[in-house]
Symmetry: C2
Subunit: 393 residues, 2 copies
């Protein structure tokens, strides 16, 4: 069960947006305006809530985040924007806050207009039910195809006392986040009771997201609704810098990112694609990305096949220069390729056995340079096809 973070309360209701009657609207409220930093999807096609939140983020303060599942409110034009505003206005009224300080987020099917009136009708109940210990309900309400809610926590010890950090996220499909300062249907909400300036909060958030959410791939598709938002209530009265918050924030983001991949649609394995030995991190990232998104690699992972040829072929088409005759490849710690050549069937068989694990690493050493990057990916099997071929029906 998720702990509480001073200065924040959480709630969730069923507003009938989802057909199955599960709770589908989540609200997190800061007792006083919280310092906020957000990253929205870099997809050119941005959902209405992303556009509205992007307008509101620059002010740097937020009272609440309002999230619904069951409807992405994407590709809904002006009516979509109006609906996102209307829903947040209804909440603002109950909170006696400015609508500008309520950030909307949505997840679900693209193309359907948000039924703002359903949220408005539940605004009073939603606010009345707010409680410091209902973060778990918040986490549950934002799930779509997720098999479990995603929560991660950390504590930062400072000379002046402890600061709490709570992260809540949803996966599990259309996961190939690419979020940048005003970049989700990955949704991530980070809450801290630290006192921090907005610029510092963003300075901590950007690299944390870049090495966690922006380094995972379930299916290579970047959503119209991806959204990462961090709120700092200051209720601990302990001031922290980006440098102090950063490591704990990265840790929480990495936990959430891993949870998304493990819960990736139909995924049986979470596999770290670790690339090193290249001239730069950017090169290593590019190779890791190409390998992590290769269908042939992902189906081989599903088939538990130590198919290093596919790994090397994917690296080779990444556009990054390296010498294949110097490439080494290990799977689950077992080296199977050295200097571009197989180490034989016995090594492959040993690696193959270890590929039944739910998590392992594939390591590609492509030279002796300092550039390294690790991408977290999932295998692709029948369940992925089932989930995605039948998603709307």
């Amino acid at each position: 069960m998720a702990g509480s973070v001073r200065g924040f309360r959480f709630g969730a209701v069923s507003a009938g947006i989802r057909k199955d009657g599960r709770i589908d609207v989540a609200l997190a409220v800061a007792d006083r305006p919280a310092v906020v930093a957000g990253l929205v999807t870099r997809n050119l096609v941005k959902a209405a809530p992303i556009l509205v939140a992007s307008e509101r983020l620059p002010a740097g303060l937020a009272r609440a985040v309002l999230v619904n599942s069951g409807c992405a409110n994407a590709c809904t034009g002006e009516p979509g924007l109006a609906a996102a505003r209307q829903a947040t206005e209804a909440i603002a009224r109950e909170l006696d806050a400015s609508p500008e300080q309520v950030l909307p987020a949505s997840t679900g099917v693209i193309g359907a207009l948000l039924p703002a009136e359903k949220i408005a009708a539940k605004a009073k109940e939603l606010v009345a039910g707010l409680s410091a210990d209902r973060a778990d309900d918040f986490a549950l309400a934002i799930c779509t195809t997720d098999r479990w809610p995603k929560v991660a926590e950390a504590t930062i010890e400072t000379p002046n006392g402890k600061v709490a950090l709570l992260g809540i996220a949803k996966g599990a499909g259309m996961i190939h986040p690419d979020v940048g300062p005003p970049h989700a249907t990955m949704l991530v909400f980070l809450f801290t009771d630290a006192r921090i300036e907005r610029a510092e909060l963003e300075r901590a958030l950007v690299p944390a997201a870049d090495h966690s959410f922006n380094a995972i791939s379930v299916d290579g598709d970047t959503s119209t609704n991806d959204f990462v938002v961090a709120l700092a209530s200051g209720a601990s009265d302990i001031a922290v810098s980006a440098a102090e918050l950063g490591p704990a924030l990265l840790d929480v983001c990495k936990q959430l990112a891993r949870s998304m991949v493990v819960d990736g649609e139909g995924a049986e394995h979470a596999v770290d694609i670790a690339v090193r030995g290249l001239p730069s991190e950017a090169d290593a990232r590019r190779v890791a990305h190409t390998v992590a998104t290769s269908l042939l690699v992902k189906t081989a992972l599903f088939g538990r096949d130590a198919n290093w040829g596919r790994l090397l072929a994917a690296a080779g088409r990444s556009g990054v220069a390296f010498d294949p005759s110097r490439a080494s490849i290990s799977i689950a710690g077992v080296e199977i390729v050295r200097n571009g050549l197989t180490l034989g069937a016995a090594a492959e068989a040993e690696a193959q056995k270890l590929m039944s694990a739910s998590a392992f690493a594939v390591e590609l050493v492509l030279g002796s340079g300092p550039g390294a990057f690790t991408y977290l990916t999932s295998d692709l099997g029948h369940s992925y096809v089932d989930v995605n071929a039948g998603y709307r029906s």
Copy 2:
């Protein structure tokens, strides 16, 4: 049944490279040195036969192409290069030709060394069996997971008489060709009896490949072995220019490319992703490519789901600028989105019905610019997973 092209003879034998005993070595021989132009994979990791062929292509003349299935001879280092040379030398001896004029090509599993001695042992039988009417055997021998051999023909009428064009190809997996002047496990062999200069042959081949093989995707993976080679025997004694050969060559290449997608591993639908209205062809190509390779799009095609949100979201992450509020989308001729908004459930239902066809087009009009490009893709379903998760076992 494939016709013959003056100046060429074909043959095939079983050399025991494949475990199943099917014919696995194919040979095409020009009676006299033929003008040759070739495109090899742009994957940085190039198979041994690709490296050897790349050395030999610049001379501009070839007597033969020697192709094996069952073994890619890729990532096999110096021994792989030696094996590719050895196999071509054995054929050259039987033909009384220079080994430099025998081009090797291989397809199969990466990492296994070509058993050149098996080919050498069959060289005499292979050459003795050569015949002008055995193109079909050649086509069959190069198949791997292909469900059928791929042959296309065309005739060019010139003022001086007819010129014949014969294309033989294999798909069906690791299909996302990206071939450039010295670019396959797509293998394509084009034979013509036209008389044409090498530079002209290449001038015709490059755009033909670019608008056919380089515009299809089964799984987004570019092979280490992709190879397109065109040979002109001149045996018709009819001289043609690139401009005269081009349209027929493009036609043959498009037929072969379509056949590869239709026979794409586990594919049930061949879908044209037609993008237009952008500033340039390059922009349109980039969007079409992103949509054609989106897993969410490909699984929606498998699920016969007119999921335009996924189409638009894929376009939106392509990196090409367009105004989503001006986007129109049609599926199988039925417009379902206009100005970025759905035209309703009835239109979608109508489109959905037409998606059971084995071939249809998805059209994205993203503005009013002149840039257009069409990518041919396949759906992704359970058969794809079965074929690729179990390929080596």
